[in-house]
């Protein structure tokens, strides 16, 4: 099954809405506590990335009994050097964003740690697409 959520750039007040909703859905689907935790943490980071860096974005969540695949597609400045962005502590977040407690450069590394697959494609000046997959721990 598939769900879609819209994310607005700069709307920190509502950052986390998609991850909250997804958490609720996964709980209802009896996904294991540990899988829910890692998916929600990764999704929250990715969601905040759109809010902090992009203008707008769409989160698509595809749930199957074996995996959860999430695609976050945004319109925004794009990432010029993805390898650099993947480094822990690297961040291009503005001072204002950092002041709000975001932009520590932990986002992408945190996502990578929590998900089984992470693919990032980006076009400078157009936007970024993040695909991430968690294989579910089937009991």
């Amino acid at each position: 099954m598939q769900f879609e959520f819209e994310v607005t750039g700069g709307d920190f007040a509502n950052a986390g809405t998609a991850s909250s909703q997804v958490k609720k859905i996964l709980k209802q689907l009896n996904v294991s506590v540990s899988d829910i935790k890692r998916i929600v943490v990764a999704l929250y980071e990715a969601e905040v990335n759109i809010v902090a860096h992009a203008y707008s974005g769409v989160v698509t969540v595809e749930i199957e009994t074996t995996q959860v695949r999430i695609i976050l597609k945004d319109s925004g400045p794009g990432i010029p050097d993805i390898d650099l962005a993947m480094q822990q502590g690297y961040s291009t977040a503005s001072p204002e964003v950092r002041e709000m407690g975001f932009g520590a450069g932990m986002g992408l590394p945190n996502i990578k740690r929590n998900m089984d697959v992470l693919n990032i494609s980006s076009e400078v000046g157009i936007g970024t697409t993040v695909e991430m997959i968690a294989f579910l721990n089937v009991a």
Binding site: M1, G16, L29, N30, V33
Partner: protein, 471 residues
């Protein structure tokens, strides 16, 4: 003992509906934070596995149909040693001109041989907690195990956070372990000791009758605070001034212990980032954020289901703010006296020699999640039910009127997906089916009766029909 029976699901909850009193009004159904209540046959029905005994339903009931199932008071006389284990908030139920000694002496008069305050367990617990939160292996934030409604809320609604619950017993269990040990040391036999907790809330009862993370509780029985309050108050009022009862064996509490059950009672004494949050909806909002890891770096959380914590327990009778005032006053008096006498709190603590014995006993096993959120154990089946629920929900009017007997359109949709309810229970849907000729008026009445019973409109008989004019 009525309270001994466990529910069909093995989870005890102390909140019960008096069927003969319930008018099926939906007040409780709409306030229940875990959506545990439905109306069937004109009466509120509590779903066992969802109820966390927070008591919101009891507060909202206009006809007092929801009660807390406690033990028969006369049960205390089955024991040679009859210990009243009272919460500090009991004292706060009375006006200041009734002294602590007076209240305790009346407890002795009505049949107890010993009176202890549950907060006697605080000093040892506090020391142990300071060590506990420092341990690097402990999941942060550490969530206090003090409020049993919160522990159960976490089990059913936030299963991912069960590992954060502090694995130490609450003060009342620590106190009861101490009392038992001391009496046995003094020559009492185990079966002669009856420890009765005077509870300010329903959740403590369930915690004692089916404890989380331990096999059996050291507490023998539970008596409702409002019941004891009446007994004490009547006795005091009926007693001529100046007369005194023999004072039971009572040792003073420390200032920290007096205020332990109030909001900030724990958090203010745990170092690091310690937060105190009271009232169950506030707690749920906060846990939601903790679970998403939107909030981090917090060391300790004191979470209480009631507004103003135990001072606002559902079985308390006094205004909760006045109770807080009285306990604050008592705490500052205690601290002043202890400073004047030059004795530190621990020097006065009669429990101190027992700390070594009690320490290994106050730990509890891990708290197990018992999630109620999943639509089905099997994920494929859960997905099928979720699709159905979402489809049904889209067709419902979303007014959350409760006329279907479920707290919201969302809840009805879920009940339908679980095959526990039918589409035509919705008034709007039923009306549409009726006009479309899909059901008959008699069918409609039958559905209405199945939710609201057939007594609901009895009063709307002869001479009492507001639809007729000039009566």
């Amino acid at each position: 003992m009525a309270s001994d029976q466990k529910t069909s699901t093995g989870f005890h909850h102390a909140l019960k509906v008096k069927q003969e009193v319930c008018i099926g009004c939906t007040h409780c159904m709409t306030v229940c934070p875990t959506e545990a209540i439905r109306v069937k046959d004109g009466m509120a029905v509590i779903t066992d596995e969802r109820c966390v005994d927070c008591g919101m339903c009891l507060r909202s009931c206009p006809v007092k149909a929801i009660h807390v199932d406690h033990d028969d008071f006369n049960h205390i006389f089955d024991y040679k040693y009859r210990i009243a284990l009272v919460p500090a908030v009991l004292i706060g139920q009375f006006p200041e001109d009734i002294s602590v000694e007076q209240i305790y002496s009346v407890l002795a008069d009505i049949g107890f041989t010993h009176v202890y305050e549950a907060e006697h367990g605080v000093d040892l617990l506090h020391q142990t907690m300071l060590e506990y939160v420092k341990k690097p292996i402990v999941a942060k934030p550490v969530i206090s195990s003090f409020c049993p409604a919160i522990v159960r809320l976490i089990q059913v609604r936030f299963p991912a956070l069960t590992e954060n619950v502090m694995l130490l017993k609450p003060p009342l269990d620590v106190a009861s372990l101490y009392i038992k040990k001391r009496l046995v040391d003094e020559g009492a036999l185990d079966h002669e000791i009856g420890i009765f907790y005077i509870t300010p809330c329903a959740a403590k009862i369930a915690a004692i009758k089916s404890p989380v993370g331990e096999d059996v509780s050291a507490i023998t029985g539970v008596i409702n605070l409002d019941f004891i309050f009446n007994k004490i108050y009547r006795t005091i009022k009926a007693t001529p001034r100046g007369s005194s009862f023999p004072l039971p064996d009572v040792s003073p509490l420390t200032g920290i212990a007096v205020k332990w059950s109030l909001t900030h009672g724990e958090a203010d004494h745990i170092p690091g980032r310690s937060l105190a949050i009271d009232e169950i909806h506030n707690v749920m909002d906060f846990l939601e954020k903790i679970e998403n890891e939107e909030i981090s770096d917090i060391d300790f959380l004191e979470l209480r289901a009631c507004d103003e914590s135990c001072a606002g327990g559902v079985l308390t009778t006094a205004n909760r703010f006045l109770t807080v005032e009285r306990l604050n006053h008592r705490a500052s008096e205690t601290i002043r006296r202890q400073t004047e006498s030059g004795l530190s709190a621990n020097n006065q603590n009669e429990m101190a020699p027992y700390f070594g014995h009690l320490l290994p006993l106050i730990r509890v096993d891990e708290v197990q999640p018992r999630g109620i959120m999943q639509l089905d154990k099997d994920m494929a089946e859960a997905m099928r039910k979720m699709n159905k629920r979402n489809k049904v929900y889209n067709a419902l009017p979303k007014v959350d009127c409760g006329a279907c007997g479920a707290p919201s359109c969302q809840a009805l949709a879920e009940d339908i997906a679980q095959e526990k309810a039918s589409f035509d229970q919705c008034f709007f849907i039923r009306n549409r089916m009726l006009t479309a000729g899909k059901i008959q008026l008699s069918d409609s009445k039958q559905i209405l009766d199945s939710i609201w019973g057939n007594n609901k409109l009895k009063k709307l008989g002869e001479g009492n029909d507001p639809t007729k004019e000039n009566q």
